[in-house]
């Protein structure tokens, strides 16, 4: 371990060694929200799905929206970190760990939301026992589990160097069990030329695998919708549309996470304005692509004038007018304005824009699911209005808030276990990264 790495670890050491009162308060607040989510979950298990807004007609609600959203974040984190690694993008080093953690933590939260949609959770394992290859749900199940394994391997390889450094950093005052854990996880990695070569080769291979799998897995998720004949869902562009929206939202979450860690961990000299602009440019490109795909999808539907497509477009432009405008217009044009005009490219502006984009993409997912289910081909007999129109309940919102709280909590805990900036890749010359953007 050279001196620059030692001084770097020293800088992060307080974060691993102690937890401040503010951090305890933050963790306690998050646990309170998670507690509310657990209460809501018990309410749902004991009383059934009647406590949610989901009914016979609108069988999916904000749980599936959260599932798509969190899985999208995970895939985006993986895609961004895999691509930046593969192309050896220099400015990735201070931010790639944040992208990796976004991928991991979102992956831990997302699948829970699909389980919340299941009426009989006790029969969830039937999907494994009796699932058939023809069903897109089975494809999704296989794809997600394949992705989980791939991502764990990729993340582990990416962390290996840092785990070894944490093991070897003797000045770190942490409990013995943690030292032992670092030693165990570091599997004797010493950073020799031979080990480094093997590790880099493996990481390159896994980066290629992760990028390919992410594109396939999120396309499979999109196919769950697009292979049906539901108005709005039956579209050939849904696969790439979902992937683009995922990277779009993922880059926005990455920017917000960068801002949070920069602010609270005082990483101003590691994560600079140029990093924000660089990730912001990714967001800008994907905003344009997302806008193009949305326009393409809606224009063909609107011009085709098929009966049920017309009903759907009418619902989108009447009942969901403002959410639609926000998600698909403001959410697309705002990054273009803020990042397109040089004078507006400040860290705060980019972060605020990213926060808008996150909300916009969540609403976009909502608008994909709910209006379609509210305009079925076969009208249900004697419909109660509250059965045919979805209205989310406190139970669903509590579990949504709990998901966000778990995301923040795991991020906080992860930052106490591994350096939020990759040490293994950190060299003296990295301080010049400002000029690379």
């Amino acid at each position: 371990m050279d001196n620059s790495e030692k001084s770097f670890l020293k800088e992060f050491a307080p974060c691993f060694e102690k937890t401040s009162v503010k951090e305890y308060a933050w963790i306690f607040g998050l646990l309170a929200v998670i507690g509310l989510g657990i209460y809501a979950f018990l309410e749902q298990v004991l009383k059934g799905h009647i406590v949610t807004g989901m009914r016979d007609n609108v069988v999916w609600g904000i749980y599936i929206v959260n599932f798509i959203f969190f899985m999208g974040l995970s895939y985006a984190g993986a895609l961004i970190s895999g691509t930046l690694h593969l192309f050896r993008v220099e400015w990735r080093k201070p931010i790639i760990r944040i992208a990796e953690l976004i991928a991991l933590i979102s992956l831990m939260i997302g699948p829970f939301y699909i389980l919340l949609c299941i009426g009989r959770l006790d029969r969830a394992y039937y999907l494994m026992l009796y699932g058939r290859i023809q069903s897109p749900i089975s494809w999704d199940e296989m794809a997600i589990s394949t992705y989980i394994f791939g991502w764990i391997i990729f993340l582990y390889i990416s962390l290996l160097g840092d785990l070894a450094k944490m093991r070897d950093f003797e000045e770190l005052r942490i409990p013995k069990w943690r030292k032992k854990l670092y030693k165990f996880l570091a599997i004797g990695y010493e950073g020799s030329a031979y080990q480094r070569k093997r590790l880099e080769k493996t990481m390159d291979i896994m980066a290629v695998m992760v990028i390919s799998i992410v594109i396939i897995v999120y396309s499979v998720l999109a196919w769950i919708f697009s292979v049906t004949l539901q108005p709005g869902w039956h579209s050939t562009i849904y696969g790439p549309y979902f992937v683009i929206a995922a990277v779009y939202s993922g880059s926005a979450v990455l920017i917000v996470a960068m801002w949070v860690f920069r602010k609270f961990y005082h990483l101003e000299h590691h994560i600079t304005k140029n990093h924000f602009i660089a990730v912001g440019m990714i967001m800008l490109v994907f905003a344009a692509l997302f806008g193009y795909f949305t326009f393409n999808d809606l224009l063909t539907k609107w011009y085709g004038s098929q009966k049920h497509d017309e009903v759907l477009i009418r619902i989108l432009f009447k009942e969901f007018y403002w959410p639609f405008i926000f998600a698909n217009f403001i959410g697309v044009f705002l990054p273009m304005i803020i990042l397109g005009i040089k004078k507006l490219r400040s860290i705060t502006n980019i972060t605020l824009t990213a926060a808008f984009v996150i909300v916009a993409i969540w609403i976009n997912r909502y608008l994909i699911i709910i209006p379609t289910l509210q305009s079925p081909y076969l009208p249900i007999q004697d419909p109660h209005t509250e059965w045919s129109i979805y209205s989310s309940t406190w139970v669903e919102w509590s579990l949504t808030a709990a998901g966000i709280a778990v995301f923040c909590l795991l991020f906080t805990l992860a930052s106490k276990f591994v350096p939020i900036i990759t040490v293994g890749d950190y060299r003296k010359e990295d301080t010049k990264e400002n000029t690379l953007v």
């Binding site: 791939g150 009942e319 309940t393």
Partner: protein, 299 residues
């Protein structure tokens, strides 16, 4: 400049929060004031001299109506203000409460009409309400006849005068229906003659159950004088329905027992490729661990 940008962003966020009506969460009534109720009464006179009264109770919310369950509805019948209780029933989950009553002993007015009333007494949460309906009892009888291969549905409509004598129901239109899976299919309509009789030639192409059984519904609908009058009967004049599987095999059908070969091959190739790389990565990690143990590279 910064202030302007923040100002615009805050305005947009506030506007979205206020106007995102589609994303509102469900909320209960904000105050303890009782809510207005809506009660409707429907009437159906059946062929066995009885009437079926159905009351529906609901409240209207912002997003639509809400049926009230387990509310007791009292039914009564009479003239002017003198109503006599004829039954009561609790509402079901659809908000409906029904009673079936014989019309023989009910008090009629001079115009031969009987008044019916449904009353909801109210509760601390909901206002009381009532609904009324007036109709003269009438009945329709269905009989069937065949001439050679032709089948006829014969209808006889009648009503009772104030002395209880049966008199024909003339010049009234009777609709004929057959129930299907989702709704009723209309066979046609006939007008009763001066003697209250009519015949309808039954079409030969109506599909019944596997034995050809059909349910025939004859009814006068929403008549000013008689309200709704209905008679139901069954006959096996329908075409027997043969339930059979489609001869055309489509490999894309979700219910086919096995997946198409191309799908199986694609999945096996893709998953094998991916998992082989995973195993290679794990193998490389094992090699890294071994190299540290032996302190020399293993190639």
């Amino acid at each position: 400049m910064k202030r302007t940008v923040y100002g615009i962003l805050s305005l947009v966020l506030t506007a979205v929060l206020f106007l995102s009506s589609g994303l509102k969460s469900q909320s209960g009534p904000a105050d303890s004031k009782p809510r207005e109720t809506y009660l409707t009464l429907t009437y159906l006179c059946t062929s066995n001299d009885s009437v079926c009264l159905t009351a529906n109770l609901k409240v209207y919310k912002k997003n639509g109506s809400l049926a009230l369950m387990n509310a007791t509805i009292d039914f009564s019948s009479g003239q002017d203000e003198n109503f006599i209780p004829v039954g009561s029933a609790p509402t079901d989950q659809e908000g409906n409460a029904s009673v079936k009553i014989a019309v023989g002993k009910l008090q009629r007015g001079k115009d031969r009409m009987i008044a019916y009333k449904a009353t909801f007494a109210g509760s601390p949460k909901y206002y009381k309400n009532s609904a009324e309906f007036r109709a003269e009892p009438a009945k329709i009888l269905i009989s069937f006849s065949s001439v050679d291969t032709l089948h006829y549905i014969n209808l006889t409509g009648s009503r009772n005068d104030l002395h209880g004598h049966e008199i024909p129901l003339s010049k009234e239109i009777v609709n004929l229906h057959v129930p299907r899976l989702f709704s009723l299919i209309k066979l046609g309509a006939v007008m009763l003659d001066e003697e209250g009789k009519a015949s309808f030639k039954f079409p030969g192409n109506i599909v019944g159950d596997s034995l050809g059984n059909l349910t025939i519904i004859a009814g006068i609908e929403d008549n000013v004088q008689f309200g709704s009058v209905q008679a139901v009967s069954r006959i096996n004049w329908g075409m027997p329905n043969e339930y059979r599987k489609s001869d055309v095999f489509s490999p894309r059908q979700l219910w086919t027992p096995s997946a198409p070969l191309w799908m199986i091959i694609t999945l096996i190739v893709m998953l094998s490729g991916v998992w082989a790389h995973y195993m290679y990565a794990v193998w490389e990690l094992i090699m890294i661990r071994r190299s540290s143990k032996k302190d020399k590279p293993i190639l």
